[in-house]
């Protein structure tokens, strides 16, 4: 198909996409958020082991990279005293391309200083409702066959509140595993094997976890209604703080709906000593695996010292549009996919 007819075919979804963005902006405005813009070309794009940044030139201070998420700079803003901020921005992740992935995509990221995880969940429910109303799919969106889980429905109820469950509950229910969170890597490999999942001898803790997650849990996840998955085991805390009163659980949730991982939220870690320790650990693992080791964001670590308790979340805007328009792939909801540039 030539480009003109392809774009002509995509016009309706682009119009809906723009209207959804307006509705999302209106929601945040109504909630008293300040919309901010932070840099795209940074020195410290994030230490996460499984995210690779795209290089963006070099200057006297060092090499720059495109952001994989706006998290660090937004937290620096929160720490400066802006309690509610939201950003709509492009993020870039090297070598991610698939039905739900594009190397360049749109993120909605927001923070609530002194807010709760429950408030972030309410935000998610409200945003999905607002988007679905604009798309004309409230309270029930179509789910294309290619996106259905094994229990999949042809339509996904979006109204009536989302389901709430925990990581450990899902593991118990679908994989027959009792996970504490302090297992050794060898114990994790044995647990994965006991659930009938094949893991290699060099599989790390989180590799074993995600093998079980993809093999046993994801097919069931959010297939009857959107689902919040909370209480992640501490080794998967990333930038989340420990849940008060619990040793091995992080304050983190993910939102899944009809085969799509829509959002990830943290009760943000504001202990700069602990954050530095985690960054250094992740840097060491990146180095050991032959990946680029990025510098630590010292300004972020400094800002954490005076950051209030904060909850923050990132939601994939393209995936939100996919969900409420019943699109099968992320390319269906953008004007130009990565291979159409």
């Amino acid at each position: 198909m030539d480009e003109r007819s392809r774009l002509l075919g995509r016009q309706p979804v682009l119009v809906v996409r723009a209207a959804i963005l307006r509705a999302v902006r209106a929601y945040f405005e109504g909630q008293g958020f300040v919309e901010v813009e932070t840099p795209s070309r940074v020195y410290a794009p994030g230490q996460e082991i499984h995210l690779d940044a795209i290089p963006a030139g070099r200057d006297r201070r060092g090499e720059r990279f495109l952001i994989t998420s706006p998290e660090y700079h937004m937290k620096r803003l929160v720490a400066s005293g802006l309690p509610r901020i939201v950003q709509f921005c492009r993020c870039f992740r090297a070598e991610e391309a698939g039905p739900f992935h594009q190397p360049e995509f749109t993120m909605i990221e927001w923070y609530r200083a002194n807010g709760t995880m429950g408030e972030l969940m309410q935000d998610c429910e409200a945003l999905v409702e607002a988007a679905a109303r604009v798309a004309g799919t409230w309270p029930c969106a179509d789910v294309p066959a290619t996106r259905r889980g094994s229990h999949g429905a042809e339509a996904m109820p979006l109204g009536g509140g989302f389901q709430r469950t925990t990581v450990r509950e899902l593991l118990r229910q679908h994989a027959g595993i009792q996970l504490r969170g302090d297992e050794t890597e060898a114990e994790m490999r044995a647990l994965a094997a006991s659930a009938g999942c094949q893991v290699t001898a060099d599989a790390a803790w989180d590799d074993c976890f995600y093998q079980v997650f993809l093999d046993r849990i994801e097919p069931h996840l959010g297939s009857s209604r959107p689902t919040f998955v909370s209480d992640w085991p501490l080794p998967l805390a990333a930038l989340a703080r420990r849940k008060p009163g619990e040793l091995l659980t992080a304050e983190r949730f993910e939102l899944y709906a009809a085969g799509i991982e829509l959002a990830n939220a943290f009760g943000e870690l504001t202990d700069s000593v602990e954050q530095r320790r985690r960054f250094e650990e992740e840097s060491a693992i990146r180095g050991a695996r032959g990946k680029t080791v990025y510098p630590l964001d010292e300004q972020l670590l400094g800002a954490l010292e005076h950051m209030p308790p904060t909850c923050g979340i990132a939601l994939g805007f393209d995936r939100l549009v996919m969900l409420v328009t019943g699109a099968a792939t992320i390319r269906d909801v953008v004007a130009f996919g990565d291979d159409e540039v």
């Binding site: 499984h50 070598e95 391309a97 039905p99 599989a203 989180d206 590799d207 995600y210 993910e254 991982e261």
Partner: protein
């Protein structure tokens, strides 16, 4: 042979899993937000035809399956085996009864089939989807009888019986779908 990486995965790639040769039917990039990338893969067992799902973590190594297919002509049956000839090298191989199985029903002499070799041993044959065969024996047909849905058995040279419409006569040539064993049409008259 060098091993494959998950980034080599593509449709039709033949790999070893749990000691058996598989071919990739479908694959998809998946990645949990905070986890490693995986390739969600659907694979077909080349020996049994069974299809399995496997999520392969990025960087996992896969051993290539030592399989190849050759076009070979079926010559004749000898004892408990069938004799095939490579149409390009004229090499002959014997393939035992149990490997051919039910496929022998639609494997007349001289037919060219695809023979699958695994570790240089013939492990299966794939017939052409359609064959044309002369009817060796059937009840006499009735001229003009084209009633649909009513069939009678017709025997072909391999001894297989195919349900055919009543108007088919001995000596007619018919087209058969080897995957279903169904009569499709009459392509020549006695």
């Amino acid at each position: 042979m060098a091993s494959y990486d998950t980034s080599d995965i593509r449709k039709g790639l033949k790999v070893m899993l749990d000691g058996a040769p598989y071919t990739v039917v479908e694959f998809q990039f998946v990645k949990p937000g905070k986890g490693a990338a995986f390739t969600r893969t659907k694979l077909k067992n080349l020996l049994t035809g069974g299809v399995i799902d496997r999520n392969l973590r990025s960087g996992e190594k896969l051993e290539p399956a030592n399989v190849e297919t050759k076009s070979m002509q079926y010559l004749y049956k000898e004892g408990d085996s069938y004799v095939f000839m490579d149409t390009s090298t004229y090499d002959q191989v014997h393939i035992p009864d149990e490997t051919i199985g039910d496929d022998s029903k639609f494997m007349p002499e001289q037919i060219v089939v695809e023979v699958l070799f695994f570790n240089d041993r013939a492990v299966g044959v794939t017939l052409p989807n359609f064959i044309e065969q002369k009817v060796m024996a059937t009840e006499p047909g009735f001229r003009g009888d084209t009633a649909t849905g009513v069939t009678k058995p017709a025997t072909i040279s391999t001894g297989a019986q195919v349900p055919v419409p009543l108007f088919i006569n001995e000596g007619d040539t018919i087209k058969i779908d080897t995957r279903t064993g169904d009569y499709l049409e009459r392509v020549g008259r006695a």
